[in-house]
Structure formats: C-alpha cells, structure tokens
Amino acid sequence: MSEVIIPKDELASFVGRLLESYEVFAPVARGGMYLFERISAADEADLSYKNTRLSPKGAFLPQSERMFEFTVAPGKEESGILKEAPKEFRERVLLGLRPCDAQAFKLVDVNFITKEYTDPWWARRREKAILVGLGCNEPRSTCFCTSTGGGPFSEKGLDVLLYDLGESFLARAVTEKGEQIVSFCSGKAPGESLKSKARELEAAARAKIRKSLPVDKLKEKDLLELFNGKFWEKIEFACINCGTCTFVCPTCWCFDIQDEVYKNDGDRLRNWDSCMFPIFTLHGSGHNPRAQKVQRVRQRFMHKLKYYVDKYGNGVACVGCGRCVVSCPVNIDIRRVMEVMTAEVCEREE
C-alpha cells in the first residue's frame, strides 16, 4: 500500500481538496475541549489534539436523529404511515481520528450489522465513510488500548493511518479506499529516514502505555460468580448514576426511540440512551428489572467486560480510550473494575 509525506504547511490544502469531494469530520477545538465535528473550512481541523471529549460515534449514530415523520391527521391518505425522514449520506472522511476510535466502529458494527438485522443508517454511513486515523505519539496516562487489542498506531478499522513526524505527516493507505485518499496528497513517498522515524515513534508510544490489564482472564471467569460478586457494592457506592460514561464511550450503542408530536404531525426520533438511567429498563407494567443502582452499574461493566466477551469471542467491548476514566465525575475507573473482576478470589454474596 502507498505511503506519502504531507508537509504540515500543505495540510490545509489537502483538507481543502477533501472538502471539495467529501463531507469531512475532524477534531475541532470547542471551548476548552475537542469535539469531532463536521467542518466546512480546512483550518477548523486541529490535528494537534490529544483526544476528543466525546467519541466520534456521533458521525454515524447522532445523539438525536429524526428517523421518520408522520401525520395522524384524519382523512389524509398518508395518515398513520411512517415516512423516512431525509438524511445525509454523502461520502464522508473522518480525518485524524484516533486508532482506538476506529477499532470501536468495528466493534459497534457487531451490533448494527448482524446476520438477521442491519441498521440501514449506520450501515450506509459506515459504507460511505473513509477513516483517516492519526497515530498517538503521546498516549495519555489514562490510555490502555494495548490491553484491549489495539495500539497507538493500530491500523484496525482504518483506511489511512497518519504518523505525525513533526514537520510533516506520513500517510499510509491501509485499504483500497485509503488509496483514494492518499491520491489526494501531492507529496512524495517517504525516504528511509522518515520511515524509520515513524517506526521509532510507534515503539516509543507503545512503551509509554504503562498500564497492562488482565483482559484475557475475563473469559475464564465464571459468569455467575462475577454476577453475584460482592465487590459490586463497593464499585457502585460512589456512582451517581449519570450517563457520562456511556455518552462519552465510543462503544456504547444503546438508543431510545421517541415520538414527538405537535397537533397532528410528529417525528420519530432516535436518541442515545444510557443503561445508567433507571428509566432505561422501566417496563410498561411499572416493573423495573434493574431498579437498583448496583444492578445498573453491574450491567454496564458486565456487558462490556463479560457478556460481550462470552457472546462474540473477540475480546472486550472496550477499546481503552480512557474517556470514561477522565470524565467520570466520581472517579469510577474501569481499569480498577477490570482488576477487581479478574482478581483470583471473587468475594461472593453471602
């Protein structure tokens, strides 16, 4: 696959060319944080960022999206019929996303593209997207991607991987789609010295991720033993049951469907939902199978670290981005939870 060098002073013109053909999503500085947003000008993209506060999942699964529109006006022919609301499906480039987030998209595919069902909007957007990743020269102290099957320069799920070499970027196409993007760069192929610099950066970044987590032990653990673990009470104590961890998470895919109606006309919306909220599992009957906070906290960690592991056999439903670690208001740290879950002796409920 091709490799080219993009000098940093030519980045803007490269992004400009992308903008002519694609919708471009990129990290954008927004009042003390970075968010992944659709940009309209090349200089909005800021690739000097560490990571975005929220994951880029909103590019494929917006926090709120109009799925259908309808009318219930009496006497109208289309009354009571759901019509698909117009949506944007242009080809899009996600520029400069972190390798962990690309891996997360592959993971979420497991939920939205199955043998039986395909979520048409997720699938179409995914199909039309080109993911241009940016390797992490300086992983954060909360990063643990090397424990979850990724790495600071992992190519998993990416079409192009960028190396920040200081004065320039090295762009490596990973897929055919990626070749298409690389062809937008007018730069030269990298010489041996830049190639070896890229390799050095990669090795140095890996070495910076000090935390190694016992992820492999999770599949060996007995499901019920974990479920009945007494340790959940300690883990859940501080939890305030907000939705922060789930909303910042690149692999949390749960949503809620709502009808919003004004007079005779309405929209059917899909909104992100959170298993931390009591109403998430509230039945129409009034019964709530996860009425207690401890049940909800256990659910979130068991889903990511045990149910998913057992069901799909491809590791944990976590890519080690560390966003929940950074943003949890009360410092509930998934790394610590993983350690407790994999401890030799599980404290059990008496």
């Binding site: 009042g31 003390g32 709120s64 102290s141 305030i240 410092n331 740290d333």
Partner: protein, 316 residues
C-alpha cells in the same frame, strides 16, 4: 489540606472501633490527578484509605439521603450546609450523623488546570498551603492556589462547617468583602434577546447526561420530572429547547436550597457553567427573603413557609 488526613483517620478509627457509627463517609484517593472517589469506610481496616485534599469537590451530602445507618461524614463548609438542608427537608436525621468538620480552603478547579496545560499530560498534582504543584511529562509548575480555585470556592463566604460534632482543625478565616454576584449582575443588565442567546450558547454543548443533577444533593426526587414518562413533560433529544427546559426547571427546583457547592459544574463532562442559573436564584432569595440556604436547623426555607410580610403582594 492534606494535613487533615491523619486527624480524619484518627477520628474515623475511633468512631468505628467504638461502634459509635456504622460507617464513615469520606473520600479515597483517586486513580487520576485531581480526582478523588467518594468512599464509605465500614471497618477500621478501611480507615487508612480515607483521604483528603483540594480535589474533594463532590458534595458528600448527596450520599446521605434516606440512609438508615449511623454515619460519620467528612464535611467541608458547603457539605454541612447541604446536610442542614437534608435535615430540614427530612432526608436524614441529625442524630444519625456524626459530622467531622473540615475548615475548607477551597477546591481546585480541575477543568481550568486541564485547560491551562491542554496537550500536555499531567501526571501528578500536589499541593501545599499556598500552592498547587503540577507535574508531568516535562512539566513542573507551581501555581498559587488562589488562582486555580473553583469559581464558587473563590467567592465562598462559608468555608467553615456550620454544623459539626468535631472539627479536624481550627476554623479558617472567612473573607470580609466578597461580591458574589458580579457575573449575575452583568446578565441582569442584558436585554431579553441577548440574554436568551447567551444562555442558548451556554447550554448548547449539553449532552443530557444529568451529571449535574445527579451530583446535586438537592436532586433527590424519586423520579425527576425529565424521567417521567406518563405524561412525559420534556423531550429527550438534544434539541436546545428541551435542553434549556431541563436546566431552567432544575434550577428553579433548587431556589432557596442551593448552597453553591459547585458539585454540578465539577461533574459536568462538557464544562457548562450552570451555576449561573442557581446563583441568580440564590441572589433573588437573599434579596427577597434575606435567606441563605443551609445555615440554620431552626429556620424553614422561604419557599415552604407563609409569612404575612411576604414581599409578593399576590399572596396577601
């Protein structure tokens, strides 16, 4: 404030060993810089995990309501005011509590420090009486703590506990002249259009995670109005009208109750200054009723009392 730790542990150990309480509510040291985790020590063997520094901004009164045990709680000034609220609002009983009072020197604004060093990895944040010391990859900075306090702490006039059973140290000096409402006065001066746009901009990053509500000791309703489904009062999307409805209504529910502890802003993952709303209501309550929330066990909050000299003419 780390010098309080030995005393906190000493008091906690004694209380647990003598079985005067079932548990001690405090903080344990966090896994990342500038974060600590609310923690319940249930036996003497847990006591050495109890920790205290200027990163204990989450209000522990939030963990007290409807508890049955006898609990000792490590409480700074604002926490004790919310404990008073809780007692007045019948969420917890005074005789259930043993309040370990912290003379507070203010909490560090984590968000501000992260923004100051954006792009550089902070690995350790230490403190002494005057300074905050920030260390990381090629980073070693000393900043006077007064410059990096949470905004609510920098205008705080009740650093010392208003109610306690035992103090960990001598009270700190309270400031003389603090204008708590500079920013609120500026907003009051805006015309309605401008003000609407101002708040619209402030609340537009909201992701409806409810961290502000859930970290708030006042928000203990069994079901919040935004979670009611029959009928559903508020839309669930991130449409700005629904977002603002949530924030405005929540603020009104806190009128005459909010102690400006700042837990909401500390908890917010996207940095929304929602205290602008609760502070305006605090100012109104002070001006209309001469009342400050959480200062006395013997006074009913103004919004659940009737007085013939009530300034609202319609009530007479």
């Amino acid at each position: 404030m780390k010098e309080y730790i030995p005393k906190i542990r000493e008091i906690a150990r004694k209380l647990l060993e003598e079985e005067k309480v079932d548990a001690v509510l405090g903080f344990r040291k966090g896994t990342i810089p500038m974060m600590n985790e609310p923690f319940m020590a249930r036996s003497a063997s847990d006591v050495d995990l109890l920790y205290w520094d200027s990163n204990c901004g989450i209000n522990l009164a939030n963990y007290l309501h409807k508890r049955k045990e006898k609990i000792a709680v490590v409480a700074k000034g604002c926490d004790t005011r919310n404990i008073v609220n809780h007692i007045v609002e019948n969420q917890v009983k005074r005789d259930q509590l043993y309040i370990i009072g912290i003379p507070c020197r203010g909490m560090i604004d984590r968000r501000q420090i992260l923004a100051m060093f954006e792009g550089r990895e902070i690995e350790e944040v230490d403190e002494d009486a005057e300074n905050v010391i920030i260390k990381g990859d090629g980073l070693s900075e000393t900043i006077p703590r007064v410059e990096v306090l949470q905004e609510n702490c920098s205008i705080c006039i009740h650093h010392n506990p208003v109610i306690y059973d035992e103090m960990v140290d001598e009270p700190v000096e309270e400031p003389d002249h603090v204008d708590r409402y500079d920013d609120i006065k500026a907003i009051e001066e805006m015309d309605p259009e401008e003000r609407y746009q101002y708040f619209r901009d402030i609340f537009s990053p909201c992701i409806r995670c409810y961290a502000c509500r859930n970290s708030c000791p006042l928000c203990y309703c069994p079901t919040c109005f935004v979670d009611e489904s029959r009928p559903q009062w508020v839309g669930k999307s991130i449409d700005i009208t629904d977002v603002m409805t949530f924030h405005f209504l929540r603020a009104f529910h806190c009128a005459g109750r909010c102690t400006d502890c700042g837990s909401c802003e500390r908890a917010c993952p996207v940095g929304i200054p929602m205290r602008l709303l609760t502070k305006k209501l605090e100012k109104d309550i002070r001006e209309l009723y001469g009342y400050e929330a959480g200062m006395s066990l013997d006074e009913r909050p103004p919004l659940d009392t009737y007085r013939p000299d009530d300034p609202e003419f319609f009530i007479k």
